[in-house]
């Protein structure tokens, strides 16, 4: 029974999550594009040259946050950079991507980026639980942060548990093992993940993937959508 549930999470649910993610985002963007344009400028002044570049800088460097909440900004940058690296690190597991040297047993960032993301999420959570930010927070805000926190923690646990066997010359579940699992998903061959991921902490991998699936499925319907909307919004502000 448990093996069936693990299979459902590690294979069909991954496809479902990816489909919800893509269809959800496309639907959301299409809904916006189908709406009539506002018709007049929404910019603020003073006007500056190279407004497109400035909108880009606003999106990726968040100067407004740096100016008004510098400590929060440090954690925001840490979180977003580390999250980006984590995405790249996971993509690197797919055979043939090759961001890390082929003979390296480590994921991109060597576990440090996971720790960085976890620390940033903990800061976000603590910040949200006090002062005026607490008063503007909703249940959904906490649930999202908890989802991210447990996603990062289980990812960290997998990384850490894998290193237990390092003294004996190898990882419990190696990059190649994860690569085989991802390649299987890409081939849609519905192979049993248990045969590809041999470690005793397999259950943690299952939980991690389950949480990742949830993350992908709620992505288009929650504020995480700002990933896609931050740039057009900053363009509106810059004019």
């Amino acid at each position: 029974m448990a093996d069936t549930i693990y299979f459902l999470i590690l294979v069909p649910m991954v496809y479902l999550a990816a489909a919800v993610f893509v269809v959800g985002i496309v639907g959301r963007v299409a809904r916006i594009l189908a709406s009539p344009p506002h018709g007049s400028t929404l910019r603020i002044f003073p006007a500056r040259r190279a407004s497109g570049l400035r909108a880009l800088a606003d999106t990726f460097l968040m100067p407004q946050a740096r100016k008004h909440t510098p400590v929060f900004w440090v954690f925001l940058m840490l979180f977003h950079l580390a999250f980006l690296l984590l995405i790249l690190g996971h993509l690197d597991l797919i055979p043939g991507v090759g961001l890390m040297p082929a003979d390296s047993p480590h994921m991109l960032g060597g576990g440090a980026v996971g720790v960085a993301v976890t620390l940033a999420i903990l800061y976000f959570l603590l910040r949200r639980m006090q002062g005026p930010v607490r008063e503007i927070s909703t249940l959904g805000d906490y649930l999202l942060l908890l989802l991210l926190l447990f996603l990062a923690l289980t990812g960290g646990m997998i990384s850490w548990a894998n290193s237990w066997n390092q003294a004996n010359g190898g990882f419990v579940i190696s990059k190649q093992d994860f690569g085989a699992y991802l390649a299987s998903l890409l081939r849609f061959d519905f192979a049993s993940p248990r045969d590809l991921l041999p470690g005793s902490h397999y259950i943690v991998v299952v939980i991690h993937v389950f949480l990742a699936n949830l993350f992908l499925m709620v992505f288009p319907f929650t504020k995480i959508i700002h990933t896609f909307f931050a740039m057009p919004l900053n363009r509106l502000r810059r004019g």
Partner: protein
């Protein structure tokens, strides 16, 4: 609330869901960076006065009726029903926000709270709960446009009665009208407010510059924008656009009224004429040497300038008033922050017209402190609303300044050739 009214309000809300509005409503991360941006919150630290809390009321209605997740999972606490209690909340958020858009300079996404409050104001109109005074004033402006043929004579007579006061400030050429009206082919159509303080200094300045100008039959202020009624806003603007087109003027100069300027400059589309602010015009006259001013008039005065939100941050008239003031005053000091980040005076969004003095005074404490910190004795500004609000603050907080329109300072300092 009756089902029919609820449906009507949902329809009104839908009418505001432009591409940009959907982006604004979809994106807030509730990060709280905007919390400190609002002058009302800085003066009275209550969560309801934050940009995020104000917008959240509208977002919750949006999610409830226009988002699948809000319909499916209302229990997550991020939706509210459109009922009487919600409308009370909507009223509070709409009419404690001055629409200054200072929060846009804090938000990492640049979310426009004023635009979101446009939904709130429209819902209140639909529910017949908007401030009736604002609607009445908007209707009066529109009626004036409809009856202009009948009232032209009376208007022209009232203007003639002001000419002696213009001549006191500037002796024009003999035989030339001090306040010309209905001049075909004028270079500038000046759109004033309904009050001689908005006409006399401007007339003296334009006469001193030898401008070929004409006074508009209509007042500049747009109460349709204050009450958040898009149709009335358009109708009020249209009177002036039609007049300018009919006269064939080159430029329309909007008096010192921030909302009037922003609406006409940035929200009415393209025209066969340019829209400028009267501050632009004064700066141009000084730069081109068409008028000269006597700096001695402000000797011994320390002058500071309050950037009206709709003129500066939302209109782009930022350096021009400073250049004018540097010509006028030897001791000009900036308040901090200034320009696009200046604190709102607390009088915008229709609050001055509505009265609301208790809230206006309490919510603008931070403005009074900002002015006091400059040590200025003269507080110049270029907006009618700001002037009224700053004058009230001056009295309430004992700021000890003389609040003056920029045009008034220039007109008082004109040097007769």
């Amino acid at each position: 609330m009756e089902a029919a009214l609820q449906e009507k309000l949902k329809g009104l809300m839908a009418s505001k869901l432009s591409r940009e509005m959907r982006l604004y409503l979809d994106t807030c991360a509730r990060c709280g960076i905007c919390i400190e941006a609002c002058h009302a919150y800085a003066s009275m630290p209550e969560t309801r006065y934050t940009a995020v809390a104000r917008a959240e009321t509208i977002r919750r209605l949006f999610r409830r009726y226009f988002k699948a997740e809000g319909r499916l999972l209302p229990g997550l606490g991020e939706t509210i029903e459109l009922d009487d209690a919600a409308l009370e909340k909507v009223h509070e958020t709409a009419y404690t926000c001055t629409g200054c858009r200072r929060c846009m300079t804090y938000c990492p996404f640049g979310i426009d709270t004023q635009m979101i409050q446009g939904i709130a104001k429209l819902l209140l109109i639909g529910a017949d709960r908007e401030p009736k005074l604002l609607t009445m004033l908007a209707d009066m402006s529109i009626a004036k446009g409809e009856t202009i043929r009948d009232t032209k004579g009376a208007f022209e007579q009232a203007v003639r009665n002001l000419e002696a006061e213009v001549i006191e400030k500037w002796r024009g050429e003999a035989g030339r009208e001090a306040i010309p009206v209905g001049v075909k082919g004028a270079d500038v159509l000046y759109v004033a407010l309904a009050g001689k303080h908005s006409i006399i200094p401007a007339a003296a300045i334009m006469n001193a510059a030898g401008e070929k100008w004409s006074l508009s039959y209509f007042e500049a202020v747009n109460f349709g924008a204050f009450v958040g009624n898009p149709e009335k806003t358009r109708e009020i603007s249209r009177r002036i656009i039609d007049e300018a087109t009919e006269l064939g003027v080159r430029e329309v100069a909007i008096c010192e009224c921030g909302t009037a300027y922003r609406v006409m400059k940035h929200q009415t589309g393209r025209h066969p004429f340019e829209v400028i602010s009267f501050v632009d015009l004064m700066e141009r006259y000084l730069r081109d040497g068409r008028i000269r001013v006597d700096r001695a008039k402000l000797d011994g005065s320390r002058v500071t300038y309050h950037d009206p939100c709709q003129m500066a941050r939302n209109g782009g008239v930022i350096e021009e008033p400073r250049r004018v003031l540097r010509e006028l005053a030897g001791d000009f000091v900036e308040m901090r922050p200034n320009r696009g980040e200046n604190w709102c005076c607390g009088g915008g969004g229709g609050l001055v017209a509505m009265g609301e003095k208790d809230f206006r005074m309490k919510s603008a404490r931070v403005k009074a402190e900002q002015v006091r910190a400059t040590g200025a004795t003269v507080l110049a500004t270029a907006c009618e609303n700001c002037h009224t609000q700053l004058s009230d603050l001056n009295e309430h907080y004992g700021m000890g300044v003389r609040v003056a329109f920029l045009s008034q300072l220039v007109a008082d300092a004109l040097v007769q050739a």
